[in-house]
Structure formats: C-alpha cells, structure tokens
C-alpha cells in the first residue's frame, strides 16, 4: 500500500515537471508580448522596454524558468501581470467558484444518470428504455454553452427566477452564491449525465447477467436488494472511472460556461489570462489543473478497492 502510494507520488512529480516544461516553452514561443498588450498599440519602445524589464521578460528562457520553479518550490507566489496580486490568491478565489460548481454539476449528473440508467437497464428495449436513450442522444449532441443560454433565457429573462449570471461571493450571500451556481452547474451536469446514463445502463446490463446476481435471485432476495445492493455496487466501478475523467472535462467546460454566466471562476480566469498573456497566471493554473486531475484519478483508484473487494491494490 505504501509502495503504491509512493509510486503514485513519483508519477505525480514527474508529470508535473513535464507539464511545467511544456507549458513554459509553449508560452515562451507564443507570439504576443505581454507588455505590448498592457501598454497598447501606441506605446513607445521606451515604455515597452521599461515594462518588460519590470516584469522580468527581458531575462533568458532558462533564468525565467528557474525563477518560476524556485518560486513554486519555496511556496512563493508570482504576481499576476494583469491583476497585480499573487497568483495563488487568484487561484483560491476562483476555485471557490469553479470547485463548488463542478461538484454541484457532478451531483446533478449522478442524480439524473443513476436512476435513469438503472431504469433503462431493467426495462431493456422497452419504450421507457428507448425514450431514455433518445434523451441521452439529445444531451450528447447539445453544446453546453447553448444549453446555458437557453437556461438563462427561460429562467432569468422570462421567468426572472435566477439572475442571468454573476456571483455574489460566499461571505456576502451564501444562499445567493449557491443559487448563482445552480444554472451553470445544471448546464454542465445535464451533458455529463447523458454519458453517465448510457454507461450506467450498459454496465448494469452486464452485471445483471452475471452468475452471482442469478445466485442472489435464486436465494429469493427481493429484486430491489438484488439491483441496488448486489448489482449496482459492481456496476459503479466503470462509472467512477469515467467520473474521474469527466472532472478534467468539467474544468474545460467551465471555461465556456463561466463566460456565458460571467462567473469569476477558474475557467474564465485562465481564458482571459491567455488572451492578455498573463503568463504567471496561465502557467500556475495549468499546473494546478494537471495536479488536480492526477489527484482525483488517484482518489478514484483508491475508491475501487472499497467498492469491489476483488480489486486489491498491490
């Protein structure tokens, strides 16, 4: 167990190192000078040179890279060029929006997909199953930003139940903040639910045909116990795997949905930072997201064992 953990940790470090080199190099060769973007197109060469020196952009590739890594290792945060504040504060502030939004989206996805998937599996090829499958097709084909716009048109502009976007802040208005995340999380969640419903259905169908389920039924257990206790538990393994992978997609989806709902989240932060060449912000967020995906998948690996005792981590 300890060895497994150590192995994962080494993988994480190596991966982050590779990500750091890649993201740094890409940003280094990317055309577009941050000082030009800040000063505008009528800036004089003198003003540009002054700002470049202030931002440390006149340094060599190696020295800029080692500065960054040294700062990271020592736990010092670099300053955002655009926002004039430490990047880690920006990450924490935006994570307070994107994190809960992703969780609520996952919750929506689970609440929708598990019952529907199980229902479809138990009524395979009947009208209910076909309807659910048709619905998931529709969900898969719908772009989330468009779905988000439809939601605002209905619930904000027409009905006036929700605001069209924005985020009041947790400290200021807790329930208002939850409310502000519901529509975007729903837009993200419904699309994820389509995939998960299909997966739940096929996974359940497979498990329901297994011998131990037949045994359980032969023992005279109630159908509900067979489905929800015996079958679902095993069917959850692939579902969990996909959920772990979906977290990465969720962060990518956040970029678009946060723009539609103008939420001050991580997706919009990194999107704007790329446009403004706010290099310290882009670098740190990409690294953070890579780490987040690796850690979540690690947690998923650990969860397998507790769901299915046959999978033992060696």
């Amino acid at each position: 167990m300890l060895r497994y953990f150590a192995k994962k940790l080494i993988t994480l470090v190596v991966l982050l190192f590779l990500v750091s080199i890649t993201v740094f190099s890409v940003l280094f060769v990317l055309p577009g000078d941050p000082s030009q973007i800040i000063l505008g197109i009528n800036a004089t060469p003198e003003a540009l040179a002054n700002l470049r020196a202030e931002l440390g952009l006149d340094q060599s590739f190696l020295s800029q890279y080692t500065d960054w890594i040294a700062d990271l290792l020592l736990g010092r945060s670099q300053q955002s060029i655009h926002y004039k504040m430490p990047v880690y504060e920006l990450i924490l502030d935006s994570l307070a929006v994107t994190g809960p939004m992703a969780l609520i989206a996952m919750l929506f996805a689970l609440v929708i997909s598990l019952p529907l998937g199980i229902y479809a599996a138990r009524h395979q090829n009947q009208t209910g199953d076909v309807t659910v499958m048709f619905g998931t097709q529709l969900g898969l084909a719908t772009p989330e930003f468009w779905f988000g716009i439809l939601l605002t048109l209905l619930f904000s502009v027409e009905l006036g139940w929700f605001s069209a976007g924005g985020f009041p802040g947790w400290g200021k208005d807790f329930w208002g903040s939850i409310k502000a995340l519901l529509l975007p999380a729903f837009a993200l969640g419904v699309i994820r639910a389509s995939i998960l419903t299909r997966l739940t259905r096929s996974s359940m169908l497979e498990v329901l045909r297994e011998d131990y389920v037949r045994t359980a039924r032969a023992k005279g257990l109630r159908e509900r116990t067979v489905v929800y206790v015996h079958a679902l538990r095993n069917a959850l393994v692939p579902i969990l795997t996909i959920m772990g992978l979906q977290l990465g997609q969720l962060l990518a989806g956040a970029i678009i949905i946060e723009n539609v709902f103008f939420l001050p989240g991580m997706g919009r932060l990194v999107f704007n930072a790329i446009g403004q060449r706010d290099l310290p912000v882009v670098r740190d967020i990409v690294l953070f997201m890579a780490a987040a995906v690796v850690v979540v998948n690690f947690i998923v690996d650990m969860a397998y064992a507790s769901i299915d005792p046959r999978i033992r981590i060696k």
Binding site: G32, D33, Q36, A47, I149, G160, G165, F262, G265
Partner: protein, 498 residues
Amino acid sequence: MKKFLLILLVLAIMAPVQAAWAATPQKGGNLIISVGDEPPGLDPTASASAAIDRVVYSNIMEGLIKVDRDGRFVPGLATKWDVSPDGKVYTFQLRKGVSFHNGEAFNAAVAKWNLERAVAQDSKNAHPEFFRVIEKIETPDDYTLKLTLKDVDALFIVHMAEGDAVMLPMKGYENMAAEPIGTGPFKFARWTRGDSVEMVRNDKYWNPKLPYLDKVTYRFIKDPSAQVAALKAGDIDIIGWLLAPELAPAIEKDKRFKVLAGASTSEVIMSTNNKAKPFDNKLVRQAIAYAIDRDAVSELVISGYGTKIGSHWPPVTPYYKDMTGLFPYDPEKAKKLLAQAGYPNGFEATIKLPVIYPYAGRAGEVIADMLGQVGIKLNIEIVEWGVWLDRVFKQKDFQLSMIGHAEAWDIGIYANPNYYFQYDSQEFRDAYAMALKAPNEAEKAKWFGRCQEIVAEDAVNGFLFLSPALSAMKVELMDWWENYPTIAMDCSQVWWKK
C-alpha cells in the same frame, strides 16, 4: 375672461419652471454598468489600455483638464489656464480645497511631482513622450502651476486631458494599480478579480453638488448575448461599453430600455501595409477605396449605427474635415484604376482579422465580397489578439487587416514611417509638423485639415466608419453620455429618475 387669461399667464410662467424641476437630478441610488474588458490594473498612468480609463478616469481619478460631452476642454483640477502668445508657457490656476481620497491635499507641489514623475528617465508612464515636451515646471505659489514647453505643441492640452495625465497622491502611489486613490467623485471600494470593480460616493468631492449616485459597480461581461441577458434579467442597469450593434434593434423595441447611439473616437479602418506589394501602389489603394460601399459596410457590420469616415479623424473632434465624398462607391472606376496599375485581372491578397473584435471579422467578410467584385480575391485569416500584435503590429507581416483605432487625436501615427501600416510621406510629415506648431486656432484648423486631406487622397488605409458608442440602459437612468468624445465613462452627473 380676464380670470382665464390670468390663469393662462400663470400657467405659462409655471410651465418652464415645472419642466426644469422635472429634469432636476435626484440624488441616491446604485448603478451597475457592464463593460466587456476587465482593465489590466487600475492606474491610467501605467498603461494605455482604454479599459482602465473607462473605469477609473473621471470617476476615481482626475487631471487638470477634462473633456466635456461635446468634446470641449473644460476645467478639472485646474480652474483655468492661460497660454502665452508664443504658445510655449502654460499657466494653470489650481482648484483650492481639493483633497485626495486618502486625505492628502492637492496643490501645485503635488501637480509638479506628478509631471516630474511622468517625464523622468525611468518613467512608468505609458506615454512619457506626451510630457517630454515640458522643459520647466514652476510653482509660483501653492495654487499656480507654470509649465514652459521646449516647443509649441498643439496636442499638449489634449494630452493633459487624457488618462495619462491624472493626478496621483504622493503617498501610496506605488499601489495605484491595485488600489487607486484620486480626487474624483467616487472612491475606490473593491476589485473582485474577474468580476467587478466597486466605487462609492466621495462625500468630500470638490463640487459639493456631485456626484448624484451613491455607488457605482463596473461588471465585466465579455459575451454580448450574456450582457443583454443580464440587462433584461435586471442584473445590470446599463451596457456601457459596448452593446453589440446587431442586438441593439431588439432592445430599442423593449419599453423598459433605451439605446443611445452616439459617436466614439474609434475609427475602424482596413489597415493596409503601404510597403507590401501591390498595396505600395497608390492606384491600387485608391481602386480599393472606390470598390468599398461604405453604406453597405455600415449597414451589415454595425446595423447602420456608425458614422461614415473618409479620413483618420472623428467627427466629434475639433478641426474635423469631411472627406467621405472623395471616393464614392464606383466598382467600374475601381476596375479601371486596377488596370491602370497593371492588374487588369485583379490579384490575390490576404487579410488578417483579429478574432477579439467581432466587427473586424464581419467587416472583413463584407469587404472580401466587395473586393471580389472588382477582381481582388481576399483570403481571410483569423488571428488571436496576441498574434495580431506580434505579427501584424510589430513585425508588419501582413497585407491587409482590420482594426479600430480608439484614441482621439492620433493622426500623428501617419507621420511615423515605421508604424505598422508603414505610410511614408514627407508631405504629410510637413503638414503635421505645421499643425503641431500652429500658433492659433485658424492655423490649427488649416493644417490638421490638410493632414486629413493627405491621408484621404493617398488612400493610406480603408477608412470605413466610426465605431458607434452604443449603450443600452433602463429608461429611468438619466444623463448618461451619448457621445464618447474621450475615453472615459464619467458617472459624476448620471442620476436615477424615481
């Protein structure tokens, strides 16, 4: 009958009084404005970004001179200013009893310090060249500032009225980008990164009548349809900069809102590389000018809201000369000129369009179609903003592009042969030099007019339209600026009708 006449007379006297009373601004209320771009820091002296001025300038920070709604220069922190007959000495009388939001007093010493900081060798100002013309700064008394220029500079007053010349306090000025302190009608309250900037009423503002609003919030919403959804849902009160032209007609029909379609100072031009073949040939550029139907461009790109232009000068700015009639839409003439230039069968060229500006993309497509009709085949290439700055602006690696030049009074860029469109004309440089040295208004008008003529006749760029200053707001919001003759969104006189 007499009584009736008397009543009539009383009513006649009362009527204007009533009308005036109805239009008397009322105090109180909060305002939430949406703008597209979040500013890169909040210090207008540290960056030329228009997004900063739109939030901070005239609201939190002020300079000695302001620009009013009609584009005139009016007193700001200076109550009046005199220019010596030779045009080289400016004497500003400074306003008394002004203090910064941190309590620091504003006086001649502070003004001097600010200007010295702008011209210093290691100046952090985005435009130190605006102020380098100053030779000597003197303070005869606490409220008089005397500036002696090295040479006559017709644009000096213009620059003194821009965001680059705002007055900062001497204490805590290093942190202005994150926590701006000024003398303005509103005090900075909070900047929620990625979301909004809030400012509250400055109770100690030097004009005790202003401002009317208690609180102003700028909210950053990039997506045009999200802006409109937010306005309709009541999350914001006004789309200040900039309502997408294609969405404006629908809002105008809604009784809850009103749309103001004024003029800005942003000339949208099809920038043309004057050193790249075949655009180095004046005949080719003139042929293109004839081939563009400006009315159709304005209709298709900005739903007809903009003002047509024929040169690089906004009609809202003094000394404007109308050059729109120089190249009327005439495809036949365009073909003839192309043949004369040696391209009877036209040619192929590439236009690079910056993706962040929706108007650029649309205008590019419309113009590609128009040029196609005279035999010029345009390949459209969409580029990201950073790439545009690097490839088009810095390396001049382009034939045609499309961009709005937001600054007023920026015709001087044509005097610089190294500017990205690489226009090189001694005649223009001479005229511009004459304009800058013009000692009086008549001479200024003459030479700035001549400058406009030269760039129009040479068809340096494709002059298309002035970006409309489109704003959409709740009908109860009063006295919002219709035109934007300077880059600012001055909220000091805006009020809510209850």
